[in-house]
Amino acid sequence: MLKVNDINVFYGAIHAIKGVSFQVNKGEIVTLIGANGAGKSTVLKTISGLLRTKTGGINFLEENITSTAPHKIVERGLAHVPEGRRIFLQMTVQENLEMGAYTCPSGGVEAELEKVYAQFPRLMERRRQVAGTLSGGEQQMLAIGRSLMSHPKLLMLDEPSMGLAPILVEQIFSIIQEMNKAGTTILLVEQNAQMALSIADRAYVLETGAISISGTGKELSESDEIRKAYLGG
């Protein structure tokens, strides 16, 4: 479904991503783990078109999207929940969700809203509230709900557990699994490697801009190397 082929990404002179290749197949949950600053967010931003690769290419649904504009990539069914949620704090909860459906014909928005509200009743309760007044957990729900409004085929999540209490982390991860069962392919970026590996079909470890290890979620969570580096022993 998604093929990332030997991409190299620069911030000015800083070579942030050094020849990364990986792929995500239809129906999978794939996780990209790695320490802070390894380049995980950069990889996602490059896939969604916010950053450009210097060399290498990205294919989504058999089409080359390497130089496609970000808003066109969304139209093709690739949604990205960015690090730090990035919801529109001055807009209401409902307006945020409507923005998520920006690429959809306006006729279908009502039905999508109902679906998301059914999945996140909290958002329903707060739909007229300005998003900046939501708690951290609610904001993350909103960020995920917003990305579902466009009916993505592939959903990329950048550290959805960041800054959340353990109970909320559990909740977010079970939502991710539900979405996957409902047919959405998932690319999950996490620092919380243990949780991510426990739900992932396959995993890649990113280390200073390059992929060092890959395997199934199970293999990686049992590997000594990973345990030492990312799972605290």
Binding site: L50, V74, R86, F88, M91, Y102
Partner: protein
């Protein structure tokens, strides 16, 4: 009665400032830049209307519409050619470019239309309404200007609050990266904002010159700076702020002229601005926000 008459003149002048300030503030909100050429777009709008009505004998409504069309195209072109290539440049480079565009427009107007002042014919004639046995006279253009300002404000509030494009504009103003991830075409949205701001500038130009009929290539410069001041005064980026800032500025200016000193009126305006910014650095309705890239 002089008080009432000053108040109406102030509201009328303030309405012109408010309409110009709306363009400044909307563009600032979305593109995070001060479009110093905005005042000169007003001047172009006034010239277009002048030629349409005075030279080609077209009806005033057609003159206004033509001015709006020309300014819309001009505003979008300025953004595409001058500002868009600098989207990721330093804000200093952008400000210098905006000042350059401003002088470019003034010089182009001088070349095309000479610097001799033209006498603008008011689009609604010069009729006056007399009230209280003639002790209070109000010009029709003042009433039309104030009405236009209210209508524009209501229309913009509806547009940004209720329409898909208006909401997209607010989303882009807050976080362009996130807006792109929603599938919003940020470049197109910025163009639409420039188009709306410039169409409003055309209306402001016609209203301004209908009340103060001397039209020269520099006609837009001072009102442009005043409107910029009004936008900052109200809280740059805020639509109601631009409206309130514009109206207050107009009232302060006319009262300053009437009760204190004609020569000092501009100094008074800026003194009020400075004091406001010392007390409320973000302006009357401005929000202190942090930018994410």
């Amino acid at each position: 009665m002089t008080f009432l008459s000053f108040l109406i003149s102030g509201l009328s002048l303030g309405s012109v400032y408010a309409i110009i300030a709306l363009g400044y503030t909307m563009v600032y909100g979305i593109a995070k830049m001060l479009n110093f050429a905005h005042g000169d777009v007003i001047m172009v709008g006034a010239y277009v209307c002048f030629f349409a009505t005075t030279r080609w004998d077209l009806p005033p409504t057609v003159g206004v519409l033509l001015a709006m069309v020309v300014c819309t195209v001009l505003g979008v072109l300025i953004e595409r050619l001058a500002y868009k290539p600098l989207r990721s440049a330093s804000s200093l480079a952008v400000i210098i470019t905006a000042i350059g565009v401003s002088y470019f427009l003034q010089n182009a107007a001088q070349l095309l239309w000479t610097s001799n002042p033209k006498v603008f014919t008011s689009v609604v004639g010069n009729s006056l309404i007399k009230l209280f046995d003639g002790r209070l006279t109000i010009s029709v253009i003042a009433i039309i200007t104030i009405t236009a300002c209210i209508v524009i404000m209501a229309a913009l509030t509806w547009f940004t609050g209720k329409t898909k494009m208006g909401k997209a504009m607010r989303a882009c103003s807050e976080d362009k990266g996130a807006a792109q991830l929603m599938g919003i075409d940020v470049n197109f949205t910025i163009s639409v904002t420039f188009a709306i701001g410039s169409a409003l500038a055309a209306i402001a130009g016609v209203l301004l010159c209908s009340a103060y009929p001397t039209l020269m290539p520099t006609t837009g410069a001072m009102p442009g700076i005043k409107a910029f001041t009004a936008a900052v005064f109200g809280g740059i980026g805020s639509i109601p702020g631009a409206m309130i800032g514009g109206l207050l500025l107009g009232i302060i200016e006319i009262f300053g002229k009437g009760y204190i000193s004609t020569q000092l009126s501009d100094a008074i305006v800026f003194a009020v601005l400075i004091i406001t910014l010392l007390v409320k650095p973000a302006g009357l309705l401005g929000k202190q926000t942090t930018e994410k890239v």
